[in-house]
């Protein structure tokens, strides 16, 4: 096993700077003449803006400027766009009411942006922000998706607060199958609202250069080019070549840093208005209020079966909370990243999904680790569990019976996707073995002796990753292409700089990509650096989300490496006085086939930059750029099994064991992949047991607005995970890779809830399964438990 090539658990290049405090984050950066922005935010969930009086704030000490929505309107600043058009049942595009960076006339959630105060120091800006006098006309608010259609209307152009009423699949065939079914398992469930909580809060510096009439934006973005595109084309009406976006070290995103937000828009715009750099860094309380939240679905699901437990139809009706405005990709999450995944790992022949997306007086909701796929997996794996219990079948065997068999690939699901490859039974078998399923009843009995309730829960998940084929997403309403680019540049002395459009904010790209290049080009790992995050230095890129960096960005790097090798062959042929067709490349050397005549790739690179004796018609330099647009999504899948032990006297739950068997295709760095699995499970366990973004139903105030009330998972909430792997290679990308970033967060929630409900002997429990909920269920079940 090589220690730095493909398959090696190479220690991360990033660790040196991150572990020694030498990372450079946006808030670490300070620009000459910099000012500080503080946002005045709405304390009300729904109110008219009768008057915003900024005069006292403007005359406060140190204040440079105070701006409101009116100022931006007068300057022709546009609305933050939604980049994905979802067409409803009637063929109409979704309702996309304007989302202005600073509110105009009305505020629609607690934390909505009313004004910005810019001052010489942060404290002065804070002091002055308290002097902005806003006359609010309070209106009734609604925060609950299930009540949205009967609630006071948020936007003039969205009657009943309906964004869209959308469907996928053959409803008639599903209803017929349900009517003929031997049994129909039914479930009503809620997918709880989550607040992302990356360790680094969002931050931005907008800087205008009068000399060149151009802007530089430093931002905590997962996708600097995409941010530039959105701000230039849709909001600020600027030419892209006049805007440079730099996303330096970024401390986690989980989706929440994909989007163009009000804050960086305002900092950029204001930097020209005052002709000075404007910096904003979120306080944690602002992150809670105004980062895009995740999930928040209410769903009814029905799963039909024949007498042998074969699934015959699935019907899903979901109401999805969009929040007060549409975040950039909000519309596609509960549709094309959700309903299209409802086949799961199963060969259910007909599936129908109906999704109503609604506006409420809450923070906008968008992609959060997994984005739609956790919601799909949760309902599917929950209803399968209910089906197993109602049919009195072993839950593992019911799943096995319905798996798409390994010889059925490529497999067309009834919900628009084509799975290229997979082997679901192999993962289940391995997971059952690792958890020692056959002896579960002994462990349960042993727990009972100690007064504890033990349960086991399965989750067989699939996700569509490597987002995405541009033509497919375009046909489905996406406003952008989802390719990726890479530039592989040999330096004259043989080291390599790789420029990638993928952005690393915790994923370890600088390591994984260097391993890939080292293996492909035969260049020492230490001689490769990965450059990302700056639109001024990298080719166009679409960024990091949807577990796409390796599958799409890595494939682009591979293609660029292939181009380098192709060109190198021409140069080497000249140097070796041989025909190009006779040159082979292996382990960093160009060799004349069948001889020991060779030139190292470093020698070839040198010749390319010092072309004194050089082949005719070949350009100098060894520097190639490639774009890669995938042919299909990738389909990572696997089986997670969770065992819990519950104290019925308090509802305390301990995760006693966790097995994760995942198929991510080819794995470049197993250590980094395991780390991604661990982190994903931690977030999934957080959703299942602890996390819940709660708004007060009367006032619309965010109750869980700090770590005093919003419960993040911690190390002592988690067991030591047992991680296993199976491997079927992705058939359509050059690396055979599938992506691993979201798997844990997708797989974990149903595994936990299935285990808890198994232990308690109840059919369902909504997330988060708090200790009190578990205690109450345990109390109700004490009688039958004792009678057993």
């Amino acid at each position: 096993m090589p220690d730095t090539g493909i398959g090696a658990s190479t220690r991360r290049k990033e660790d040196q700077r991150f572990l020694t405090g030498k990372g450079r984050y946006t808030d670490d950066l300070n620009r000459p003449g910099q000012t500080y922005a503080v946002f005045v935010r709405s304390p009300h969930a729904h109110a008219g803006l009768k008057n915003v009086d900024t005069s006292a704030a403007e005359s406060a000490e140190g204040v440079v400027a105070v701006f409101t929505g009116k100022d931006m309107e007068d300057d022709g600043v546009g609305s933050l766009p939604c980049g994905w058009t979802v067409v409803d049942k009637e063929g109409n595009p979704h309702k996309g009411p304007p989302h202005f960076p600073l509110a105009r006339y009305k505020v629609r959630y607690v934390g909505d942006h009313v004004a910005v105060v810019i001052a010489e120091t942060l404290e002065q800006a804070r002091d002055a922000a308290e002097l902005v006098e806003v006359d609010y006309d309070e209106q009734p608010a609604n925060v609950e998706p299930a009540k949205a259609m009967d609630a006071p209307q948020l936007h003039d152009d969205a009657p009943n607060n309906l964004c869209y009423d959308w469907e996928l699949g053959d409803g008639g065939a599903v209803d017929e199958a349900i009517s003929k079914a031997h049994h129909v398992a039914k479930l009503d469930l809620v997918n709880n609202r989550l607040i992302p909580n990356a360790i680094e809060p969002r931050a931005a510096i907008g800087e205008y250069d009068e000399g060149t009439d151009s802007y530089t934006i430093y931002s905590t973005s997962q996708n600097p080019h995409l941010l530039r595109l959105i701000l230039c084309a849709f909001v600020l009406n600027l030419p892209e070549h006049k805007v440079r976006v730099i996303a330096p070290d970024v401390g986690g995103g989980f989706g929440s840093k994909i989007y163009a937000y009000a804050e960086e828009t305002v900092c950029t715009w204001a930097s020209k208005r005052i002709n000075r750099p404007v910096k904003w860094t979120a306080e944690r309380a602002e992150s809670f209020l105004a980062d895009a939240h995740g999930r928040d679905h209410v769903t009814h699901v029905e799963l039909a079966m024949d007498e042998d437990g074969n699934f015959t139809a699935l019907k899903v009706q979901t109401t999805a909370n969009m929040g007060a405005y549409l975040s950039n990709f909000a519309t596609c999450i509960p549709t094309y990243l959700y309903a299209t995944l409802l086949a799961g790992q199963y060969k259910t022949p007909v599936i129908y999904a109906n999704v109503k997306a609604v506006f409420t007086n809450t923070a906008p909701v968008d992609a959060y680790r997994g984005a739609g796929r956790p919601e799909a997996t949760f309902l599917l794996e929950r209803v399968v569990e209910v089906a197993a219990r109602e049919m009195d079948m072993d839950p593992a065997e019911l799943r096995r019976r319905n798996f798409i068999p390994p010889d059925a690939f490529p497999y067309d699901t009834p919900v628009a996707l084509t799975y290229d490859t997979g082997n679901y039974e192999a993962a289940l078998d391995e997971a059952l073995k690792m958890i020692d399923y056959q002896n579960f009843s002994e462990r349960k009995a042993e727990s009972e002796k100690r007064g504890k309730l033990r349960g086991i829960g399965f989750s067989a998940y699939i996700e569509a990753c490597g987002i995405a084929p541009s033509a497919v997403v375009g046909a489905l309403g996406a406003g952008v292409g989802l390719w990726e680019s890479a530039q592989v540049r040999f330096n004259a002395t043989g080291s390599v700089s790789v420029f990638t459009g993928s952005h690393s904010h915790g994923q370890g790209h600088e390591t994984t990509f260097a391993q890939l290049v080292s293996e492909t080009l035969g260049v020492p790992y230490e001689s490769i650096n990965i450059v990302h995050g700056d639109t001024g230095s990298i080719p166009m890129g679409m960024g990091t989300y949807g577990s796409r960096s390796l599958a799409v960005g890595g494939s682009a790097i591979q293609k660029a490496c292939d181009k380098v090798i192709d060109k190198g062959k021409k140069i080497a042929a000249h140097m070796l006085e041989a025909s190009v067709d006779d040159i082979e490349f292996d382990k960093g050397a160009f060799r004349v086939a069948g001889t020991d005549k060779e030139k190292s790739i470093a020698e070839v690179a040198f010749a390319a930059y010092v072309p004194h004796d050089y082949p005719e018609g070949v350009e100098p330099g060894l520097d190639e750029t490639a774009f890669y647009d995938p042919a299909n999504f990738t389909y990572p899948a696997g089986v997670h099994i969770c065992e819990v032990e519950i104290d019925p006297d308090t509802g305390e739950v301990e995760i006693a064991d966790w097995v994760a068997v995942d198929d991510f295709g080819r794995v470049i760095n197993p250590m980094i992949v395991e780390g991604q699995v661990h982190g994903g499970i931690a977030q999934g366990v957080g959703q299942a047991l602890l996390e819940h973004g709660i708004y007060d139903p009367e006032s619309g105030q965010l109750i869980t607005g700090s770590y005093m009330d919003y419960t993040m998972p911690r190390a002592d909430d988690l067991p030591s995970f047992k991680v296993g792997m199976t491997e079927t290679l992705c058939t359509h990308n050059p690396l055979g890779v599938k992506g691993c970033g979201e798997a844990g967060a997708i797989a974990a929630p149903p595994a936990v809830i299935n285990a808890i409900t198994d232990a308690l002997g109840v059919m369902h429990m909504d997330m988060p399964a708090t200790r009190e909920k578990i205690w109450r269920a345990a109390q109700q079940n004490r009688q039958p438990q004792a009678a057993e």
Partner: protein
Amino acid sequence: MHNFEYHRPSSLDEVAKLLSDSEEAKIVAGGMTLIPTMKQRLAAPSAVIDLGGISELKGVSEDGGNVVVGAMTTHGEVAGDSTVQSKIPALAEAAKHIGDAQVRNRGTIGGSIANNDPAADYPAVLVGLGASVKTNKREIAADDFFVDMFETALEDDEIVVSVSFPVPEKAGYAKFENPASRYAIVGVMVSQGPQGTRVAVTGAGPCAFRVKEMEQALDGNFSADALDGISVPADDLNSDIHASAEYRAHLVGVMAKRAVRAAS
């Protein structure tokens, strides 16, 4: 945070003078509540008087049958102190689980009890161990010290100097943590010794309280079984997103038993 004056006096007399000079001044001990409140601009004192420079307020000592803990002794110091560990291990154990490492290294016993957060551990610890609080003016029994939510018997210019704990024959503390903040949803201190038999509860109600029925039951039979069937009414207990009053009432019983089992 608004601007304020900062003072770091070296004697209690100086503190008293600074307090009388400024109506809007606030005393800061570890700053675990005051500083975040100021950062959120919910408090804006004109001056902050830091007790960190007064050496007589720090440290643990023995005084006859009592362990005396200076007001400015941090939770971490209490948890790690060999006298506390050998004489009242339940006190060390309780201190060890307050907040997180950063809080334990900054937060102090005096600051905690003067704040009287209804979910803090120390109110139950003091009442449950029958401690007394020495101030710059007088000595106050823990039973009388904690008055109501965020309210104590302290006068405006009164400063906690130390807390004196009679060494019990046995004592135990059990806490059911708020999963987010790790404050007590319910914390129960039980003890038996010269101070009698005591059961004190924090987190469940607006202020730490004793459960007389449990104390009577444990008086003759200091065992978890003795608490069987004894419940506290849910009527006056706290209810929030983390636990209903009914659940808290139930947990008082469970934690009391755990505390008895842990007692040593």
